[in-house]
């Protein structure tokens, strides 16, 4: 249970499903391995003698640096997932995320314009979904990923009901 320094005191955070790590891993693999493969192409060409530029050290250093970064991100993923949390208070919803770059967001129920639930292929296979709140501001990036399906549905109903009760204009 991670609780950062910027969180308001006295909040019990609800955590997302640990299975969400798998979703993040799939995303990581798709993005980073592809990028790594592309970056490794010059190395292959140089080794095969087709290219004379870049020099060998550069052809090695770029994918190696990328690999280190990718592995670093990989190590962080489980902790990042554990750092995601949300809490329903009487009048607003709190969402937190991040370890290094932390963010705690508060969205009043009365400000919600609509609620989205979406699920990608990996999420669907694991029975997870992503819930997204929209307010009148485009800056409100209120997304809770990795909710179990039934929890997502419960939260959506709960939020809609509370939003209805506390509806405010702009």
């Amino acid at each position: 249970m991670h609780s950062g320094a910027i969180d308001p005191p006295g909040i019990t955070w609800l955590r997302v499903s640990p299975k969400y790590v798998t979703v993040r891993l799939a995303g990581w693999a798709l993005g980073n391995l592809l990028l790594l493969a592309v970056l490794a192409l010059p190395l292959v060409f140089v080794q095969a003698g087709w290219w004379h530029w870049p020099p060998l050290w550069l052809a090695v250093a770029v994918p190696a640096g990328m690999l280190v970064l990718a592995l670093w991100r990989l190590v962080l993923i489980p902790r990042q997932v554990r750092a995601i949390g949300y809490a329903e208070r009487d009048d607003d919803l709190l969402i937190r995320r991040g370890i290094f770059f932390q963010r705690t967001l508060v969205v009043p129920y009365g400000r919600m314009q609509y609620v989205d639930i979406g699920a990608g292929p990996v999420e669907r296979a694991l029975g997870l979904c992503t819930l997204k709140l929209h307010t009148a501001s485009a800056g409100t990036d209120a997304e809770i990923a990795g909710l179990p399906d039934e929890e997502g549905a419960r939260l959506r109903e709960q939020l809609s009901a509370r939003g209805e009760a506390r509806l405010a204009g702009l």
Binding site: G4, A5, I6, P8, P9, D91, D92, F100, F101, Q102, R103, T104, L105, V106, V107, P108, G110, R111, T135, A136, S137, A138, G139, T140, A142, R166, A168, G169, L170
Partner: protein
């Protein structure tokens, strides 16, 4: 407080004799409007097909060249057909464009082949603009733009109406949106335009000065100096030619700013703040009470010489300015103004500052600087809480400026040592709040607080507040926003005043001398009774006038 509470427009007899009422029936826009809108296409067609003939006429030659005598009729016929088809298209589009204002909605039907029906709720109006491009102005026409809260295109654009009709329609829409019901005896009577009270005008000389001293000019001078030095060093004159397009672009940019900002006039009426500006193309905006989501007063370094400021606002429906001339003009509440004028505009946007001494607090927000040796985090003047001393390495210049203070009605965020900014967000306009902290900020024990509002040029962000102060503000601000939202319950702004009047005893309010201090607008009596309004307008600005010497 007055007859306004009865829900009827009592003064409606005054405008009864006017042209046909837009209430109820379906109406068409002015028949000339497609030609005013599409004159460029017509001119292009005419030019394309008629150029040769016209040139020969000028040279005194025969109307039709012998060489082309065979082809000329076909050419003219083709040109005529294209012209005819275009005109026919215009006429059809005009015929099928109809609008209606009734039952709390404005409806517009357009389209010949692909029909579109659009309706927008009147009480959701965020702003109404009347735009008059030069050609439309010559013909006495105007376009009406009705904005609701989506960050894209205008919800309803009626182009073009007679200028008088456009104003009439705006008055009707605004009075319906405010919650004034039509007279049951005579529902056809048009609403009377609410009287207004001029607040300020920006003189052209100051506008020119502000453009000359803008950031843009600084780079122009820099670029010019560099070109001169370069040409002197390399003894190469030819590259001056490359500067010509740049210079043309600059002239166009300055001209656009001048054209948009010329004769800027602000006025206040019960319908909201009215802004008028423009040299060739004129625009009149109406921002109903409480529709401004966030506001920023800023001062570029060179403007400090004359003490000038600029005010920009976020209004739902205007969207982001995106750097385009018109967009940024629409989100500008004051292109250039003095300190006193800034306070006046603030008093219009925030009739109840929520503090007994707004002048001192806003001045501190505009120009204040925390005492470096003072109490940690606490600004002596205005109560601004600034970045703690321990984090001064993160912002060596700005740490004494970056700060916040909250009044009962709004949150004030100031920042910037050279480019001074003061952001004001009314509590009930906050959408959501985020507290952010990166690794470096954590090391210094500070955090950023971001307020999310609707799209626009202002993005409120409190930079590097102390951790404890930031966390306390995060909690307090959500509570304050909640309380403020509960107070604001209706989309009809007159209803809010009515509710308040029922809460506060009229006698009590009169005694206090500042009737109904909570909600904008206090002036919303009944449209058409200017006598009731004048003194209240004067009263309303009272809190901002307490310290007279600071103004002039």
């Amino acid at each position: 407080m007055t007859a306004g509470g009865t829900g009827v427009a009592p003064g409606s007899t005054a405008g009864a004799g006017g042209s046909g009422s837009p209430e109820g029936g379906w109406l068409r826009v002015h028949p000339a409007s497609p030609f005013v809108r599409g004159w460029l296409a017509l001119a292009a067609i005419g030019f394309f097909f008629g150029r040769d003939t016209f040139e020969r006429l000028l040279q005194g030659g025969p109307l039709v060249d012998e060489q082309f005598a065979g082809r000329a009729p076909w050419l003219l016929l083709g040109g005529g057909t294209v012209l005819l088809l275009t005109v026919l298209g215009y006429v059809l589009s005009w015929y099928f464009t109809r609008y209606q204002v009734a039952e709390g909605y404005v409806r517009v039907n357009t389209g010949v082949v692909f029909k579109q029906q659009r309706q927008a709720r009147l009480d959701r109006v965020q702003a109404i603009d009347i735009v008059q491009p030069l050609l439309a102005r010559i013909f006495g026409l105007a376009e009406l733009r009705f904005e609701v809260a989506d960050a894209g295109e205008s919800a309803v654009r009626l182009a073009y109406l007679r200028a008088e009709e456009a104003r009439q329609l705006r008055a009707t829409i605004l009075s319906r949106a405010a919650g004034v019901l039509p007279d049951p005896q005579r529902p056809e009577a048009p609403a009377v335009e609410a009287p207004e009270h001029a607040v300020l005008t920006v003189p052209p000389s100051r506008l020119v000065g502000s453009l000359l001293l803008s950031e843009q000019s600084f780079f122009v001078v820099l670029g010019g100096a560099m070109s001169v030095v370069l040409s002197a060093v390399t003894e190469n004159r030819s590259f001056y030619f490359y500067l010509i397009p740049a210079a043309l672009g600059l002239v166009a940019a300055y001209w656009s700013s001048f054209n948009k900002g010329y004769n800027f006039t602000a006025a206040v009426s019960p319908d909201g703040i009215r802004l008028r500006y423009g040299l060739l193309d004129t625009q009149a905006q109406t921002l109903p009470p409480g529709r401004i989501q966030a506001l920023r007063v800023s001062q570029p370094p060179l403007w400090r010489i004359f003490g000038w400021y600029r005010i920009q606002v976020n209004v739902a429906g205007y969207g982001t300015s995106g750097g385009s001339g018109e967009g940024s003009a629409r989100t500008t509440l004051l292109p250039v103004g003095t300190h006193a004028e800034v306070l006046t505009m603030l008093s219009l946007v925030l009739p109840d500052p929520g503090t007994p001494e707004p002048v001192r607090i806003f001045t501190a927000g505009l120009t204040g600087l925390a005492d470096p040796a003072g109490a940690p985090g606490q600004d002596a003047d205005g109560g601004f809480v600034t970045t703690p001393r321990r984090a001064r390495l993160l912002a060596p210049l700005g740490w004494r400026r970056n700060g916040f203070t909250a009044t009962d009605t709004a949150l004030l965020l100031r920042s910037g040592r050279w480019w001074r900014h003061l952001v004001v967000v009314p509590h009930q306009r906050t959408q959501s709040i985020a507290l952010q902290q990166g690794p470096l900020a954590r090391r210094f024990g500070v955090a950023d607080l971001v307020l999310h509002t609707t799209a626009g040029p202002v993005s409120p962000r409190l930079i590097q507040a102390g951790l404890d102060e930031g966390r306390a503000l995060f909690d307090a601000q959500s509570a304050r926003a909640r309380a403020a939202r509960k107070r604001q319950s209706s989309e009809h702004w007159l209803d809010q005043v009515r509710q308040n009047t029922s809460v506060i005893e009229p006698a009590e309010a009169a005694q206090a001398g500042d009737p109904v201090p909570r909600q904008p607008p206090q002036t919303a009596g009944s449209p058409g009774e200017p006598g009731q309004r004048g003194p209240q307008l004067e009263h309303r600005q009272d809190p901002y006038r307490q310290e007279g010497p600071q103004h002039d």
